[in-house]
Symmetry: C2
Subunit: 703 residues, 2 copies
């Protein structure tokens, strides 16, 4: 398509300047969104964040230049003898939030900020409850002279009790915290059971409920804002482009096509033709307001144009490819038994892996299995059209092929090293082992119900990754603070070292502590990677009181506040938002129906006879089906229509592959009447979450 065609109107019409300007803005927008720019942004963010790897405390030493600017400030303060703590480092991940690709991270942060008032009062009540129970524990157990397993006095100090009871809420010290009292008199177990029911079960569920409710409320509000904003902008665009035909204002077909091409430069001609036929139902040569507003939705719906091409081998040597031997192979590969045979091979492979591989016979068998898998992929590529086989959404084909190629490369590399240097590279061996076992995952594909669950999980995968971004930001901030506070306090020595110093992690303060006894020396804040692993362990919660206790011993009891703060932020807020997100994603997937726009497109696709049913799209079957159609009767009714659209097939991208965002937006839009133009722009931008639901009867003042 020639881009100069878009400018010819400039010579003839008045609003042309506007068009050219719009085009320029679009160009800028596309430049900004181009992958090179995004790579550059991510690169600089990585540099920014990874500074912590090189700064003191550092994992790697680094030339002076890289951290020059930061060091100038730090150094000048240091020179005048102010040992400043560079808190600016903790603010670095802010860069990760402030660019458009991290919309979801920012939304989650907004959601957290909006949830805070609601959760604050529940949290205060929870703290009040913990304090009341602490007071009770002090009175009940303080004077009994009981001892813990370590022989320490049991429940004699109100602050210690409050900390122990907070730990009990996280379940990390159950049932140990109860045992001394329970051993003394079994009635006292009732105290702990009551405490656990109220604080662990009920309060923690209430936290989840409050977080989830807010998450849903704010998500819905943002989606609503977006939906109305889109409609508002589309109406504005219509008012600019409209011309009067007869009694109504419309947009001409040429103008409509031009606009679509500006917005989506890479749209294929047939696809555009299809959308036009849907928008201009009566083929009147223009698009009315109602249909014009749908343009954004139409362009958003992934219509996959499937270019049915013959197998390259068929083009290259048709006689051989169509020979009876070749056809037999193709039929064999397409047969169900082919799949079963390979399932059995995978199972045998699994048994071989579980057996001891020191046996040379078994290690030869590995080569056999690898060859069998390679043969399978080659056979499939021979039978199915390669571009369809490696289609964008053919997750399992990609998975298979990459695993096998990686295993092949790693195995060959390992064998080469082994025969050349009589030495096994441990890293490569580990990778080979993992790849070998990951191959077994293929068995999931063969079981329909497993595949369906996994597909749902894969779909929410990308959004889980944005959660990874959120967690990264919070971890980074806490890691920097942790490194400032605990750097070098705990040393790791080689595990085989058993000198007294190594046993107390190089810090005499840890003598006889649970931290040293459990050999947690490597759980320290001496560098960023270690800090992240410690924070991961704290997120999992178990034994976090041992870690907190250890670092409190080597610094100050107040250090426990850092760990409590991390628990409140990460476990009570972020993990709950994560759970809320997974729940919502599943529920949205459950209550899914086709949108009105999609239905219109699908109907048109079916009318034109260029559609493919979704059921036919399962992996290899798609290719089968198209081959069958291609080789089938040529006299059937739909054939001419198909040719009219240049031998292309369309289908709506399966809902399975849509994001939660898109699904939610679609669900909300189905609630807006087509003729509803929505509130004014100002009102839209000032939507608050409270408008979505009827006023919350219980927490209405705290929103």
């Amino acid at each position: 398509m020639s881009s100069s065609g878009k400018f010819e109107c400039c010579l003839t019409s008045a609003p042309c300047f506007i068009n050219t300007f719009i085009l320029f803005v679009f160009r800028l927008y596309y430049f900004y969104n181009h992958w090179t720019m995004q790579v550059a942004i991510y690169f600089f963010i990585c540099v920014d964040l990874s500074l912590a790897l090189f700064e003191e405390p550092a994992l790697f030493p680094l030339p002076f230049l890289l951290t020059l600017f930061d060091l100038i400030i730090y150094g000048s303060l240091e020179a005048v003898n102010i040992h400043s703590i560079r808190w600016s480092r903790a603010l670095r991940p802010v860069f990760l939030i402030n660019f458009p690709e991290s919309r979801q991270i920012r939304r989650t942060f907004r959601s957290i900020r909006n949830t805070l008032p609601d959760i604050l009062y529940v949290f205060l009540l929870f703290v009040f409850s913990v304090l009341i129970f602490s007071l009770m524990a002090l009175k009940l157990f303080g004077d009994r002279g009981l001892q813990t397993v370590e022989g320490l006095p049991y429940f004699t100090n109100i602050l210690d009790i409050a900390f122990e009871l907070y730990v009990l809420v996280t379940t990390a010290n159950s049932p140990d915290v109860m045992m001394p009292a329970y051993n003394f008199n079994w009635w006292y177990s009732l105290y702990f059971i009551t405490y656990i029911i109220i604080n662990t079960y009920i309060f923690m569920s209430v936290f989840l409920a409050v977080v989830y409710n807010n998450y849903r409320k704010h998500l819905k509000n943002e989606i609503r804002k977006l939906a109305y904003l889109k409609r508002h902008k589309m109406i504005e665009a219509f008012n600019i482009l409209k011309v009067k035909v007869g009694t109504e204002f419309v947009v001409t077909e040429a103008r409509w096509k031009q606009l679509a091409r500006i917005v989506m430069p890479h749209i294929s001609g047939p696809h555009l033709e299809l959308l036009l036929r849907i928008s201009d139902e009566g083929q009147k040569g223009h698009v009315d307001k109602m249909n014009f507003i749908r343009l954004a939705d139409l362009l958003n719906i992934q219509v996959v144009t499937i270019n049915i091409k013959r197998h390259p081998l068929e083009d290259w040597m048709p006689r051989v490819y169509q020979s009876s031997a070749s056809l037999l192979v193709q039929r064999m590969v397409r047969h169900r038994i082919f799949v079963w045979v390979y399932d059995v091979i995978i199972l045998i492979n699994a048994i071989f892996i579980a057996l001891d591989e020191k046996n040379p016979f078994i290690s030869y068998a590995e080569w056999l299995f690898l060859s069998l898998y390679i043969i399978e992929i080659l056979l499939k590529l021979y039978t199915y059209e390669p571009r369809a086989y490696f289609g964008r959404k053919q997750f399992w084909n990609w998975f298979d092929t990459l695993i096998i190629i990686a295993a092949l490369v790693a195995t060959v590399a390992n064998t080469t090293i082994q025969s050349a240097r009589k030495y096994n590279s441990q890293q490569i061996l580990d990778i080979v082992l993992i790849l070998r076992i990951l191959r077994l995952l293929r068995i999931i594909v063969s079981i329909q119900r497993f595949r369906l669950i996994v597909t749902t999980l894969i779909n929410i995968g990308p959004t889980i990754l944005t959660f990874g971004g959120l967690v990264l930001v919070v971890y980074y901030v806490f890691a920097i603070i942790g490194m400032e506070a605990f750097h070098g306090k705990v040393q790791f020595f080689d595990p085989n070292f058993t000198t007294p110093n190594a046993l107390v992690c190089g810090n005499p303060g840890l003598k006889d502590s649970a931290f040293a006894r459990d050999r947690y020396c490597k759980n320290n804040f001496n560098d960023l990677a270690s800090s992240f692993i410690v924070l991961m362990e704290l997120t999992v919660v178990n034994q976090w009181h041992v870690l907190a206790g250890g670092f409190a011993l080597v610094t100050h009891q107040a250090a426990k506040l850092y760990f409590i703060g991390f628990h409140v932020v990460v476990v009570i807020l972020i993990v709950n938002i994560f759970i809320a997100f997974i729940l919502e994603a599943f529920f949205v997937a459950y209550s899914l129906e086709k949108s009105e726009v999609e239905t219109a497109i699908e109907k048109k696709i079916q009318e034109l006879g260029v559609g493919i049913q979704e059921e036919e799209m399962q992996d290899g079957k798609l290719v089968d089906n198209m081959d069958a159609k291609d080789g089938g009767f040529s006299g059937d009714d739909g054939d001419n229509k198909r040719k009219a659209l240049k031998g292309l097939y369309f289908r709506i991208a399966s809902k399975k592959y849509r994001t939660v965002d898109a699904l939610l937006q679609q669900m909300f839009e189905s609630e807006i009447a087509p003729e509803d133009e929505g509130p004014s722009l100002d009102e839209i931008l000032n939507f608050s979450a409270g408008d979505v639901y009827p006023k919350n009867p219980n927490f209405e003042n705290s929103a």
Copy 2:
């Protein structure tokens, strides 16, 4: 009201026999629902369940007679030398499920049964994932010669690895299970982090999502069934009672009243009059079909008739009660400062409790505080009408009074014993301490936002109790199995005992085990109470692998299956259902609106001028308000109407106090059009959950 009035129609009309029969059935129904019958049922259930307390293994010895029947079977088998295991005992709690009051327990059981197919496939996939990771761990770590902290070989046996990794899903052995590999090489931590993200976070959230989705689906289905069934029955009743007036079929006013009185014998006259005015809008002397169908809903809505009476003291000695000194006291008690003063007293009390009570001055202060609280209650009773003060829904007034009376009784009892026998009863002292601290909870009432959260929690309280029933049933079954399998294997010795035998819980098999080291000897299955406490600890999850490992050591490795089974049933299923229930209860409370029927009633109440706004109902304010109205102008417009209804006030019982069931039913009913008669009875009874939501796209075959 005379019950003979209901029979007079027998002399004049034909369908009278039916009426008499219906009346008889109602009588039976009321007899069945009478509290004595319910007490009897609960008594026999308690006897049934508590049999386990007395049987071998028994907490208390018991005369032979009580367990006669069970023992006859057991004994006769024993006599012929078959040492049978009495599995029938595990079935006893079935009685708890099979009576109508436990509707919610049965519903939850049905919900669990219906959830099983869905969860099964997720669970299989989860097990598959654990096995794949186990295989990877065996290959990665098995040959490295690593050791755990206890010096045992690390990750060398696939079954041990699978168990350890299952424990890691529950987070109970994090990070210990990772440390040997992490100490060896920090890259290996990535394996564990991947495992935790996939299995602990994602799979566990998916379990919650599946359980929650099914819970909601089946709940909605049952509610829908009930709603349609009710409508169906009401239409049937209408068809029996209808007479033709003019062109339409109606029910006469007399017949309608008669029916209402049969269904609700204790309804007050004015209340019935109110309902009639709503049902017979035009005062035509009959009720049409639409309004007749609403009868059940009308009767269900708790309309509180507030009988405004004067304070008994005012009747008894009006001059004293209305004297200026008395009025000053009343005004003082009603003043905001009165509340503030007592809040300050509570805070001072809290500080005194936290201080050491050995100081005699502080122990005298206790008497002072107790007197102050008693004076407060007496003053309030003097000022407010006692029957309103102790109204059914005045939770905090009841709480206050009971706590204070109990504290008074216990303190007096303790002092008496102390002075008489120079000896402190530990139990009484403990109770006094707890009561003293519980008094501090009153501070919550003074903070509006706290009170609102607590009220929500109190409302879901009764349903949480039915969950207690469900948990009781499951615990009972597992306790019986556990007692059969592990009885006597672990002995508890006095904690001060330090003989070698006491340190290994009387079982040499536990030597050097974590179970003995942590002093878990009292966690055993030697009697029902201990078993329940062990099961509670297993529910909390932490250290469950230590308990499982201990019992496996004294019996067989297969014993771990019992603990894994308990984890799957209780933590994955029941705790998730509990969380789902709390979430749903909060969301329903959030998205609450008045039902159409309620609105109609409220409108009529307002029209008649006998309503009281809900906001006015907050605790003491209610009484204030009514007093004010009573003492106010008598010339106002509503006054005559009020007199017409015999000086009564009505209000719709606050939504805060409604059950989740009622709210859900109301939400669903608002979706049924008033003229929708619903499907046929057969169809209603065969509703399946699948009809509620659009077909589940991902798990549709597994429903």
